[in-house]
Amino acid sequence: MINSLRNSTFYTMIDVKAKINSFFIFNSSFGPREGDELQRILFYHPSQTSADAQKMQVGLCEAVVKFMSTFSSEPCEALQTQTKRYIFYQPEKGYWMVLVVRIPYTTKALSAIGESRGAADIINPSVMYDLLKSAYKMFRMFRGPFKNYPIEEIYTICDQFYTPYISSRNLSNDITDVIQGINYLPLDKNSFFKVLCFIDLLEVNYPHFKCISFIYNEQLIWNGLSTPDMLTLYQYLVQSLLPKQVEKEIQGGAVAAAQRHGRFIHPPEGIHSQADLQKLVKVHLMREDDKETKQYYLVVYRTMSATVCFTVDENVDLQFEMFRSLDAFIGPQLSAIASTISEQCTLHALHTAQLAASEHKFVYFNRLNLAFKTSPTLNKLHPSTAIKPEVLSIIASIHSDKQSLGNYGEIIIKTPDEYWITGKSSNEREFYVIIQEKNANLKEIADEVRRICEAQMKGIFFYPM
């Protein structure tokens, strides 16, 4: 059961990268005097942009930030011109990250030409803001905060990190970009208990190693990080590390014996000698019981479809022997657990296949544990199951305006092309249903949504019903 790691379909796939006009990071205090403006620019993509053009863009952004500060104590978030949208993010005081995207001011002219072009062009600004935020969080996880670096180093550090980051980043403009959450794997009590016992036993035997996450395919089973870091690590695993591994496994043909027994996949070449320990990467993370962000070594181990992440305190004297013994301990145990989970998944897939008879799409999201669930894609080759960009954009705006629904609330929106979008909120939980129905009325839609909610979200209570 090789699962594609991102449930995106090609229908909504738009070339977001082609839409990105530029991406840059600046800090005005780095070149305070006139003539030093170039020093303020820590990173600029595309790098072939002329120095004058870079200075001009950054200068405009500085002016905009300063202008808004006279009216609001909140940091500047966006600048809209006729053809572009500049999205601002200030992760640390004085450090500004700016993403410039080609989004026209109104799509009136576009939609007049024909829906096809206008529709595909919609990227919700909130998606772009999240993109910036995760670009920073990924940097902070692997490199720590910007302010830790002296001015002599920061240019190189940013270049080393962001140049490959940008070229590897994929955006598909589907629902997983609009609502960033974590796909949890539902397990029966016994299987879940097995996972917990395995983690406990391991941490007792190897006290230096702390398990921070347990993932099966791309679904999370167990987490040991604080909530904000959990999403960053999950995205790193699911969007970057694991797809490369899966690709390797597929290219390797039949599952090699070594893979059944498991191996270290972080560092990517594995750990085969004391020298390989030098390749271990340090990360800045906050574990569940930590009071602040600390530095740890990140170790990732994988058997079949199960992936386990550990942190090791940076002060521990690492010995190759430790890793070899760990490998011998985890290998057989993890593959046993992976087979149990695999059986569970097959059962579960059968169960959802029955439910999936309904063609309506739904999305569930819990802000507290970031749990995210969507209706199963019936058939990946069947493009009609994807969500239309306009509908996606409406969901994005409901999702980003939490206040409107309050603790308990419901919104139903009908579009001109007969889509009914329902959003429900109950404390920190959100539930969306998309129904395309020509001759329906409000009451019928509400009844249908209630049926889907009861079938899919047993035990989760949404009011008003």
Binding site: T70, E74, E77, K84, Y105, S393, G406, N407, T415, N441
Partner: protein
């Protein structure tokens, strides 16, 4: 009928357009119902080059009328408008030297000017509006003294021109979490709104457009352009001495009256017979006056009747400017006035001449007679007195006063009580084909006064305690719904939102727009039934609450 009562009216109405028209619709509209949202959208999607071109070449409706009437239009118009410029210039020349002095004194450093923005006069305001010339000279500031804002205006001008000149782009807006700054370049002017309200970007741009039109209404676009062609650095305040007050009032008016939100005109609810009598009184008196283009009677920001020259209609936004002019000018109450008025949508290149007067001391209805003839005061004054006399004899003044004072016995005074739907807290309805609206709580004169008093002191952001909502609060809540419905990229036809404080339904069809506030957590089928009854009631009362005929001279 059976199907409508079966809890599916929303669909039935939509899928099978009924043979009879939706409430308020008629075949002949007194207003030009161009959707301001669409107009806005097409205007805003133009590129920098297109914008510069569109400013040239505008046809003059006024000279068209004049040539039809058979006068030498060109001559009259040009002499008149240049007269006007000179007159105004002279009358202000005394104070010019004074303002020059201030300008010299006010040449402070940038820092001090930034500090000025933090003074109690300016800090913590919900919405700022700044107007400046494209050279960066301050023209108007909603709060504070624009002389002290020269530094800020310089920054705004620089931002706008950097984006235009270096990026070949147009600056539209800047946002933070709690604040929006919206920019509009119109001809030789730059208009900026900085707002912490819940109004959308589109709604703010529309308000700036209105502010621009208010200036045009005082000067005409032709004159405005010419001034800045001749002297780019001109201090426009010299010519706008009276207009600041008009803009002040207009901004308040726009924040509180849903007419602006919907691009529609509110009518004074009157018995069908009374309105007919008023209209025919005007028609019979004025049909001999050949230069008369429009005769408009209004009261308390509501239209009573409009009689027009065949072929010509008025746009709601021009009527709004007339409402604003009448409401902001106390002097009309004391004497008959003769004033040049430019209606930007009708003809932005020239002035109409208006005879403006209140019908009588005991009736707050105001009559505007607009003509292309610049010396028609006496015939029009004569006509007004004849009309007033006819209205008094036919008891129309009583009917107007009853409506204005919201006599308890009228069904339209408290419509919700009259319909008997207790779940509905508030509603507003716009008939799209006639661009007219009706709300459950027509804003009365004293309420307006109230709001203005409150606003004079403040305009500050206040954390409001939850008491009983006023109609202004309901309208505030509708803003977001209105902008989702009219969103250019992802419009909606229907929105039903229910939370613990209320339930709001926004619904747009080909014929109407309807916004209703219900009790919280309202059941859908109940809401549907209530809306169905509401629409039937509006249909039943349509002759009273809307103007259903489009009379001409």
């Amino acid at each position: 009928m059976a199907s409508t009562s079966k809890d599916v009216p929303i669909v039935t109405i939509e899928e099978n357009p009924p043979d009879d028209l939706e409430p308020g619709a008629c075949y002949d509209s007194i207003l030009n119902p161009t959707d301001s949202f669409e107009e806005f959208a097409s205007e805003m999607s133009s590129s920098l080059q297109e914008r510069n071109i569109s400013l040239a070449a505008i046809n003059s409706t006024i000279s068209e009328i004049q040539s039809e009437i058979g006068e030498n239009s060109a001559q009259i118009k040009t002499t008149k408008s240049s007269d006007d410029l000179q007159n105004k210039d002279e009358s202000i020349s005394a104070s010019t030297s004074n303002s020059n002095l201030i300008e010299q004194n006010g040449d402070d450093t940038d820092n001090e000017k930034d500090d000025y923005l933090q003074t109690p006069e300016l800090v913590n305001k919900e919405k700022h509006v700044f107007i400046l010339s494209s050279a960066g000279k301050p023209i108007y500031s909603r709060y504070g003294n624009e002389d002290k804002l020269a530094g800020l205006c310089g920054v705004i001008q620089a931002l706008v021109s950097v984006v235009e000149e270096q990026n070949q782009d147009i600056l539209r807006s800047i946002t933070t979490k709690d604040c929006k700054a919206v920019f509009l370049v119109k001809g030789p002017l730059i208009l900026v709104a900085v707002s912490k309200s819940n109004e959308s970007e589109t709604q703010l741009v529309l308000q700036l457009t209105y502010a621009f039109n208010q200036i045009v209404s005082v000067l005409t676009l032709t004159q405005l352009n010419r001034i800045f062609e001749q002297r780019r650095n001109y201090d426009l305040r010299r010519l706008l001495s009276g207009a600041e007050r008009l803009i002040d009032h207009l901004l308040i008016f726009m924040e509180k009256d849903p007419a602006f939100l919907l691009g529609a005109v509110r009518c004074l609810p009157l018995p069908e017979k009374a309105r007919e009598n008023i209209t025919s009184a005007i028609q019979s008196t004025c049909n001999k006056i050949r230069d008369l283009v429009f005769a408009i009677m209004l009261a308390g920001n509501q239209l009573i009747t409009l009689v027009r020259m065949k072929k010509y209609t008025l746009h709601p936004s021009d009527i709004h400017l007339l409402f604003n002019l009448v409401r902001s000018s106390e002097s009309f109450k004391t004497a008959e006035s003769w004033t040049p008025i430019c209606l930007p949508k009708f003809d932005s290149t020239g002035f109409l001449h208006g005879h403006v007067s209140y019908i009588s001391e005991d009736c707050q209805a105001c009559l505007l007679l607009l003509t292309v003839q610049r010396d028609a005061f006496f015939p029009l004054s004569q006509a007004k007195h004849t009309i007033a006399e006819k209205l008094r004899r036919s008891n129309c003044l009583v009917a107007i006063n009853d409506a204005l004072n919201r006599n308890e016995e009228l069904p339209t005074t408290n419509p919700l009580k009259h319909i008997g739907i207790p779940e509905i807290r508030h509603f507003m309805y716009k008939c799209k084909s006639t661009a007219q609206l009706f709300t459950s709580d027509p804003i009365s004169l004293d309420k307006l006064q109230d709001y203005r008093m409150r606003h004079k002191v403040g305009g500050d952001i206040m954390v409001k305690k939850i008491e009983k909502l006023s109609d202004i609060d309901y309208v505030r809540n509708y803003r977001r719904f209105c902008s989702s419905i009219h969103c250019t990229s992802t419009p909606a036809k229907l929105i039903f939102r229910s939370n613990s404080s209320d339930t709001i339904l926004a619904w747009v069809t080909n014929g109407f727009e309807l916004y209703v506030t219900f009790d919280p957590l309202m059941e859908k089928d109940q809401a549907i039934k209530a809306v169905d009854r509401l629409l039937k009631w509006i249909k039943k009362e349509e002759q009273r609450i809307f103007i259903m005929h489009a009379p001409t001279f």
